[in-house]
Amino acid sequence: MIEFSDVGLRYGNGPEILRDISFEIQPGSFHFLTGPSGAGKTSLLRLLLLSLKPTRGRVTMFNEDVANLDQDRLLQMRRHIGIVFQEFRLLDHMTTYENVALPLRVLGQAEGDYRSNVTELLEWVGLGERMNALPSVLSGGEKQRAAIARAVIGRPKVLLADEPTGNVDPELSSRLVHLFAELNRTLGMTIILATHELPLLDRFSYPRMVLNKGELQIHE
């Protein structure tokens, strides 16, 4: 599904942030991406999100070399990838429902077609009674669950999460990872979850991609 071969990345004329990255991700798998701050986790996620192009090496996603993709195809491919951020990045002027429905709205779907799906998903993530609340009145955990719901409403094949537990307490962190695990198990979504919280990783047995000084090691 995703294959990196000898990928390198640098910003401008700076040093290489990522060096000789090679790995393969199978459909329906769950991987933790970890490493100390500044190790290049976010840069690797941006490569996976197709918002950056590697300076060397080859990235293949969904059996296509991303270097050969035009803007339209890149956009289509990006719609198969969901992303969750540490800082939630919900739109403050929209309700929880509107934030979660946004990916379907930008695809031009009619509200009548997606209303029940969005409502059902919000119930599933435990936000059924917070549908009409604005992000400003949601707790950190609620915001993150709304962000996760927004990322998965379009049924992406791959879900990326960049430090999704960074702004919540350890108890909630564990529950959020369980939510990702549930998505992986029930919907077969491929998940790559970046975190530097080692105690959290120890509670789960998923393979770990460990980045250190721009180099990657995989611990199955």
Binding site: A101, L102, R115, E129, N132, R150, G154
Partner: protein, 312 residues
Amino acid sequence: MSNPIARVLDRLPMRPGKAPIVPERSVAGHTLLLLIAIMTFLSAVTLGGVVLVQKSALAWSADVGREVTIQIRPMEGEVMESNLRTAISLAESTPGVASARALTIAESEQLLEPWLGAGIDLTAIDIPRLVVVRLADPAAADIEGLAQNLQAINGATLDTHAAWQQQLNSMAGTIVVSGLLVLALIAVATVLAIIFATRGTMASNREIVDVLHFIGASNRFIAGEFQGRFLAIGLRGGIIGGVAAIAFFVLIGLTAGVVLPSEASAQVGVFFGQFVIGVDGLIGICAVVLVIAALTAVTSRMTVRRYLAETS
């Protein structure tokens, strides 16, 4: 939802999907609205002025073109009254002439009054006399034939006012071109202001743009969302400016009659017609409003597309 309040809330129509993606308050709205209102007002007033001058020039030109004047200078041994009668009969027998009439001494005195002052007795002085010839059809009138026939009268000349007409046309043309130049400059200034406002708005809404990109929105979709906001501002600003311009013309029309003395008001009326915008004026102002709104929408869309191409 289990509790009664929640059940009631659940029955209420939700506002899902209806909130604008780009919030109204996030666009540099008030400043841009004011700027577009001012630009529309200036455009509408300039356009009104240009139309007024052009219409007056056409009316003057048509008036002057429907008349020629025969001037008969007093000559030694010539009888003025007899020459006047001959000139009138020559004029009346010329094809295309509707009527010919000699100005009386009193009328001639009135014409000279602005230069010589009132109350001067001109009976002692031999002054040239004028015959006003009104043309039924300026195009078909045989002016050359009349000029030739008038050579028979000693001291008679024919003035077709062609030089006046030409001067009038070139003056009106200059004013119209200047007005159009001002309109073009206003359009350029408006476009530049919209570009700056759009780029500022895009920069301050970077978070929304990023989120839209991450969830798979195309640049075209994002540009459309921002364009919708700017079109609304353009229309609102245009309508405010247009209504202000209509109020301006109405006010000028009302005050011109009140402030100016009646003779001066009459002269202004002769020169510029009445300050009434009329139906064509209203259509012109509506067109200005629509053009400014469209200019706002198109400029902002192009700026947003360029900004997105640079940043994504």
